[in-house]
């Protein structure tokens, strides 16, 4: 090849590389963006605790401790977890058992407890019917001297604005 041909070949090589780098650059940026997108939520995914688990642990108290609805024998002081004392199944007891903040309580878990067969309901102070899910628990009801089986439905309302379950107009 003569000198002119060599010079043209060199210029062609540089131009070819430039085009290659333009295409490779765009692809590299796309690859990095995809990678960043997948890793961006990594922290949150690694630390994710299921909402149902959180609600389940909070709601244990409703049926298990005498400060909530669990039946306690007044003579022996023995507590019967899983037996709901119907005489305590009211808003006053609920307020003593679980009470969220007056201002920002809607950001916390709130509950509506419903006894399926007995058809009684009680709810926490910042419950606005923004249910996300429901927990079911088989319980016994202490009604006077009777003890009858029932199902406790626990309607759970997490942060209503985060979950868009209540629309503010």
């Amino acid at each position: 090849m003569n000198k002119k041909g060599e010079a043209e070949g060199g210029a062609y090589d540089v131009a070819r590389k430039s085009v290659y780098w333009m295409v490779a650059g765009v692809m590299l940026v796309i690859a990095i963006l995809i990678y960043a997108y997948f890793l961006s939520g990594m922290d949150a995914r690694l630390n994710y605790t299921p909402e149902k688990l959180k609600a389940e642990t909070i709601s244990l108290r409703f049926t298990n401790i005498p400060e909530c609805f669990a039946y306690q024998d007044s003579e022996t002081g023995r507590v019967y977890p899983g037996i709901i004392d119907l005489s305590k199944f009211n808003s006053q007891t609920m307020d003593q058992c679980y009470h969220t903040g007056e201002e920002k309580g809607y950001e916390e878990y709130n509950f509506r407890l419903s006894l399926q067969d007995t058809q009684q309901e009680v709810m926490t102070n910042r419950y606005f019917h923004g249910d996300q899910f429901t927990l079911f628990r088989d319980v016994l009801i202490k009604k006077g001297e009777m003890i009858i089986p029932d199902t406790l439905l626990i309607y759970v309302q997490a942060d209503i604005f985060t979950h868009n379950t209540v629309t503010v107009t």
Binding site: D43, N47, L60, R61, P66, E67, A70, Q96, Y98
Partner: protein
Amino acid sequence: MNKKASSIVLAIGEVIVLVTVMWMVIAYAERLANSERVAKVSTADNFMLMINTLVGTPGEAVVAYPHNISRYNMILNQDSISVISPGEDKSLWEVRKFNLPQGYGGEGVVQSKEKVCLEKKNKKILLRECHADE
């Protein structure tokens, strides 16, 4: 610049760019994998779950946290638990709020203890270092 020289410069440029990108990607992934924050957030969440479970347990109970958490300090009070890396600013504390039934209380401070226990005793949730037999 002749053809050979420009070709070498471009090749070196390519290698530098690729090595830089690979280093950035690996460093980011490694930082996430070893993230101190992930461990701290998970510790705070676990303690919140344990406290709610203890509250919902009739009678008295003790539960030991099954991991070494000596790199943290912790503060439990009436309505929250905080997980703190020593010396860090308050804005970086991992704080979890909870609601205790009326008449219940929560208290306790642990500083860089390997084994930490939560105890429910007389309507009080206590955060303390575990005893030898716990």
